[in-house]
């Protein structure tokens, strides 16, 4: 049990200091509750590791990518006399890869399925893009919205790789 708690604490230490100050205690307590519910400590630690990787890789105002890369390099460099850092480094690298893939998957999830933007290349990916047009939902021969331009949802589906 103590080993499980140590594993989770180690994964929480991978988060940036700002995050740990804000959520650290709460995250540790949540992990304890989930473990007492029977959730494997390994999967909780893994989730936090992936979350930490995403947190570092997410651009924040005032934090440059080089700072993130420097922090990752620091983690991946084994300090003398500590073999565990090799394993931790490999885990972290895997978590980074997983975090990126998970982030990409998450951004392409059902929230995007609701995309009804206009078929104008990538314009619907920008924050200031216009309101989705319900008329876009109509296929040729299928109920065009009254008073709206007739369009094809297949066209709207293209070019959404934002």
């Amino acid at each position: 049990m103590a080993q499980m708690a140590r594993l989770v604490r180690a994964s929480l230490r991978c988060y940036p200091a700002r995050w740990r100050q804000r959520h650290g205690d709460e995250a540790a307590e949540l992990a304890a509750l989930l473990i007492s519910d029977g959730k494997p400590a390994g999967s909780i630690a893994w989730s936090y590791l992936a979350g930490a990787a995403r947190e570092w890789l997410t651009p924040r105002p005032g934090r440059r990518v080089s700072v993130v890369a420097g922090a990752l390099r620091k983690w991946l460099t084994p300090p003398p006399g500590r073999r565990v850092s090799v394993v931790a480094g490999a885990l972290l690298a895997a978590a980074c890869l997983l975090g990126v893939s998970a982030g990409l998957l998450a951004s392409a999830g059902p929230a995007r399925a609701a995309s009804t933007g206009k078929p104008s290349g990538h314009s619907q990916c920008r924050p200031g893009s216009p309101e989705p047009d319900p008329g876009m939902l109509s296929a040729p021969g299928l109920l065009p919205a009254p008073g709206r331009a007739h369009a094809n949802i297949q066209e709207a589906g293209h070019g959404q790789s934002c």
């Binding site: 959520h23 989930l34 590791l49 979350g51 929230a111 009804t116 299928l142 109920l143 934002c162």
Partner: protein
């Protein structure tokens, strides 16, 4: 206050939408959110995913933390968060209706 009709939740991911839906029922802290989302959507959010989504929603001003209870921070949905959720659910509903209609007309 003018309410934006733009679907800002289109790009935030499923976890964030589920969190907003859960918070629409009242303020909750992390553990309660995980339990509620598991019940309502049969989706088990990992704690790392949960905090990532909470951070993002808070930065977007769609949720806000309430004063801490012990070590737990409850969160509640804000007015812009509720408006954004409404717009998103409307959009999902329109796509869903169009999909059902096509299935029906296609005889599939």
């Amino acid at each position: 206050m003018a309410v934006s009709r733009q679907d800002v939740l289109r790009r935030v991911g499923e976890a964030s939408v589920l969190i907003l839906i859960s918070l629409a029922g009242g303020p909750k802290h992390g553990y309660a959110l995980i339990q509620d989302i598991k019940e309502l959507a049969d989706v088990e959010l990992g704690p790392g995913t949960l905090y990532g989504a909470l951070d993002r929603l808070e930065r977007l001003g769609l949720i806000e933390p309430l004063p801490a209870e012990d070590r737990r921070h409850p969160y509640r949905i804000t007015a812009p968060g509720a408006a954004a959720l409404r717009v998103h659910l409307d959009a999902v509903e329109r796509v869903s209706a169009a999909g059902r209609l096509r299935l029906q007309l296609g005889g599939i």
